[in-house]
C-alpha cells in the first residue's frame, strides 16, 4: 500500500505544470508519507490507508472506469483528486483533505520549495532594505 502513496501524493501536483515548479526527484513523496505513518496516531494511520484505497480505486467507483489511479495520466489523476476533494460525501472529502495535508508536508519540506512559495517574508536585505548605513553615508 505504501507504493500507492507515491502515486496519490505526487498526483496533487503535475510535474512541469504551471505555478509552483518542482524538479523531478525534488520531493520525497514516499518518505513524507512514511514519516507521517510512523508518527501518526492509530486514527491518523487508518485515515491515510483508507484514503489511499479510496483514491486508488476512485476511477472505478467515481467515474465507472475499470482502472486504477496509477494508470491515469497526471492531468486526469489531478482532476480525479480535485473531484474527490469536493465530493458530496463528507467522509470522502475529509480523507482526501488528510491525504492532501500529508502531501503538503512532503512538498514543503525542502527549504527551497518553501522559499519559492513566498509564504515567508523576504529578509530585509533581500527586499532591498539595508540594515546598516553604507560607508559613504556615514562618511
Amino acid at each position: 500500500m505504501i507504493r500507492w502513496a507515491a502515486v496519490v501524493m505526487s498526483g496533487f501536483v503535475v510535474a512541469g505544470g504551471p505555478g509552483l515548479a518542482v524538479a523531478p526527484g525534488e520531493i520525497d513523496w514516499l518518505g513524507g508519507t512514511r514519516d507521517f505513518l510512523e508518527r501518526a496516531s492509530a486514527k491518523g494511520r487508518l485515515g491515510v490507508r483508507v484514503g489511499l484505497l479510496l483514491a486508488m480505486s476512485a476511477p472505478l467507483w467515481c467515474w465507472g472506469r475499470l482502472t486504477t489511479a496509477a494508470r491515469l495520466s497526471p492531468e486526469e489523476r489531478a482532476r480525479l483528486l480535485a473531484e474527490l476533494l469536493s465530493h458530496r460525501v463528507f467522509f470522502v472529502r475529509e480523507l482526501m483533505l488528510l491525504l492532501k495535508l500529508v502531501a503538503c508536508m512532503a512538498l514543503l519540506r525542502p527549504a527551497a520549495v518553501r522559499a519559492r512559495t513566498g509564504y515567508d517574508r523576504p529578509a530585509p536585505a533581500a527586499r532591498g532594505e539595508r540594515l546598516l548605513p553604507s560607508i559613504r553615508e556615514v562618511a
Partner: protein, 485 residues
C-alpha cells in the same frame, strides 16, 4: 525499571492553564507540590518548525481527537508540559461581566468569582505574564489586513492582548513558541512553581486517583505512584478530567455532562499585495462580536496547512501554491448553545457533541461576515470552505446566496479548541460535580482545577478565566490548610 515513588502535600495532575496556576499559588504559599504530566517538557529551542513533528510532540492524538459523530469535529488539546497553553496563541480576555453575573445567580458561584477578588487576581496574572496589545512592529499583514477590513466595515476591532515577552513575530504559536516569548505555562508558572520547591514528573499518565474510604490519598499510573498528604488536584483538561474521575470511582449525575465549546470556522482569501503569513504574531487582531455570539480573529497557519486549505489539485492548485504569500486566513469562534457529553468507553474518552441548528446558522453568519470582511480589506477572491457552495467567490454580492443557503452540519469544517464543563462547579449538589471551592462532591481531599469546572462557555478566549478561577480556589485551599495547621 524502578517504580517512581514520590509524596507531597498536593499532587496536581496536568500542567495546563489550571494545573500550573494551582501549582504556582500553592508552592508560593509554602506547600509541597508535585506536578504529574502525561506529555513531555519541550524547551523552546526543541520546538520543531515542521508541522508533523510539532503535532506529534505536543498535540493530543496529533489533532485526531474528535467528536464521535457522522461528521466528526476535531477537538484540539495540548499534551505537553503547559498543556494547551503550550500550543495556543496567548490571547487573553478577562471573564465577561454578564457571564460572571450568570455564574453567581444561576450556579451560586458568587464567592469564587467575586468582582474585587478577581480584579486583584487578574491584575496579578496580567503583570506576571506581561499581557499587552500586540505591538505594531510584529503585527504582520495577516493581522493588519483584518484591521483594515474592520475599519472599512465599521466593526470594532483591536490588537489582541497577548502574554508575550519579546515576541519575534514568527507566526509559530500553534507549533509552540521557539523563542520562549509566549508566556505559556511551561515557561512561566511551571518553572515558577519549581523555583518555589515544586517537583515535576513528565511522561506520567495518571490512570487512577487512589481513594481510601472516600479520601483521595494519591495517584498512580504505569510505573509510578505518588502519595498526597493533603489533596489531589485533577487538572487534566475538559476531556480527560471526567474520564480520570470516573476511572477512579467518582460518580455524579453530571460527571462528563454540560460539555460546551466555541467551535470555529475559518476562511482564506487572496490579496494582490503580499501577505507573507510566515511573518507576524500568529494571532494579533480580533473583532469581538459578543452580542452576536461570536468573535473574529486573524489566524496564521503553518504553510503545510495553508497549502492544504487552498482548493483543488493539479495545475490550478499549483498556480495558487506559487503565490502562497498572497493569502490571509481569519476565523470566527462561536459561542455555541449545544451541550455534549464525555464518557469513558473502553478506558478512553468518547466525545458526544452536536451543534444545534441555531449554532449552524451562526456558523453560516460567521462565514458570510468573514467573507465580507475579506472583500472590504481588498481580497480579490475568497475560499469560503463551505461544502456544496462555490469553492471560489470573487464578489461580495455572491455572499448573499451563502447567507440564504439552508445549513447542514456536513457543510462546515468546525474545529474546537475552547472547551468547558464536564465537571461543572455549582452550589446546588444536584448540578455541580464540584462545589464552589472546587472540591469533588462525595470525596474528601479531591479537587478539580481546570476548564472543566466552568459551568458555561464564555464567548471569549478562556485561559485567563481558568487561571483566575483556579488562582482564587488554590489560594483559599492554602488558607484553609494554614488555618487547620
Amino acid at each position: 525499571m524502578a517504580k517512581l515513588v514520590d509524596e507531597a502535600d498536593y499532587v496536581i495532575v496536568g500542567t495546563g492553564a489550571g494545573g500550573a496556576t494551582a501549582a504556582r499559588v500553592l508552592a508560593a504559599n509554602g506547600a509541597s507540590v508535585v506536578m504529574v504530566e502525561e506529555g513531555a517538557h519541550l524547551r523552546p529551542e526543541e520546538r520543531p518548525a515542521a508541522l508533523l513533528d510539532a503535532m506529534r510532540l505536543a498535540v493530543r492524538d496529533m489533532c485526531m481527537q474528535a467528536t464521535e459523530s457522522r461528521v466528526p469535529m476535531p477537538i484540539l488539546q495540548g499534551r505537553a508540559v503547559g498543556g494547551s497553553t503550550a500550543i495556543n496563541s496567548g490571547i487573553v480576555w478577562r471573564l465577561p461581566d454578564d457571564v460572571r453575573a450568570d455564574w453567581r445567580d444561576r450556579f451560586g458561584l458568587g464567592a469564587l468569582v467575586d468582582d474585587d477578588a478577581l480584579e486583584r487576581v487578574f491584575s496579578a496574572i496580567e503583570d506576571e505574564l506581561e499581557i499587552h496589545p500586540t505591538e505594531p512592529a510584529i503585527l504582520g499583514r495577516n493581522n493588519a489586513l483584518m484591521a483594515e477590513g474592520a475599519k472599512a466595515m465599521g466593526l470594532p476591532g483591536r490588537a489582541i492582548h497577548r502574554n508575550t515577552r519579546g515576541c519575534e513575530g514568527n507566526a509559530r504559536c500553534l507549533q509552540g513558541c521557539p523563542a520562549g516569548a509566549r508566556q505559556s505555562m511551561d515557561v512561566s508558572y511551571v518553572p515558577r512553581a519549581i523555583a518555589d520547591g515544586a517537583r515535576l514528573h513528565t511522561g506520567c499518565r495518571v490512570e487512577r486517583v487512589i481513594l481510601k474510604r472516600g479520601r483521595a490519598v494519591g495517584v498512580e499510573g504505569p510505573g509510578f505512584s505518588i502519595r498526597a498528604r493533603r489533596a489531589v488536584i485533577v487538572a487534566a483538561g475538559v476531556v480527560h478530567t471526567p474520564v480520570l474521575l470516573h476511572a477512579s470511582g467518582v460518580r455524579h449525575a453530571n460527571l462528563g455532562r454540560r460539555f460546551q465549546a466555541h467551535p470555529g470556522v475559518a476562511m482564506v482569501g487572496r490579496f494582490e499585495q503580499p501577505v507573507h503569513m510566515g511573518f507576524g504574531a500568529a494571532q494579533g487582531y480580533e473583532i469581538p462580536q459578543r452580542a452576536r455570539g461570536f468573535k473574529l480573529e486573524a489566524l496564521a497557519l503553518p504553510p503545510e496547512m495553508l497549502a492544504a486549505r487552498l482548493p483543488g489539485a493539479g495545475a490550478a492548485w499549483q498556480r495558487r501554491l506559487a503565490d502562497l504569500g498572497s493569502y490571509a486566513q481569519w476565523c470566527g469562534q462561536i459561542r455555541m448553545k449545544a451541550h455534549g457529553r464525555i464518557r469513558r468507553v473502553f478506558g478512553r474518552p468518547w466525545i458526544a457533541y452536536e451543534p444545534t441548528r441555531e449554532d449552524l446558522e451562526k456558523a453560516r453568519e460567521v462565514a458570510v461576515t468573514l467573507g465580507r470582511l475579506m472583500f472590504a480589506a481588498g481580497a480579490v477572491e475568497i475560499f469560503p470552505g463551505v461544502a456544496g457552495f462555490d469553492e471560489v467567490v470573487t464578489s461580495p454580492e455572491r455572499l448573499d446566496a451563502l447567507a440564504e443557503r439552508p445549513v447542514s452540519r456536513a457543510d462546515f469544517h468546525l474545529v474546537a479548541s475552547h472547551l468547558f464543563g464536564t465537571t461543572s462547579a455549582a452550589a446546588d449538589p444536584a448540578v455541580g460535580v464540584v462545589d464552589p471551592s472546587l472540591a469533588v462532591r462525595g470525596a474528601e481531599g479531591l479537587y478539580v482545577m481546570d476548564a472543566s469546572v466552568l459551568p458555561t462557555n464564555l464567548g471569549v478566549n478562556p485561559q485567563h478565566t481558568i487561571m483566575g478561577v483556579v488562582w482564587q480556589a488554590a489560594e483559599r485551599l492554602a488558607e484553609r490548610a494554614r488555618a487547620a495547621a
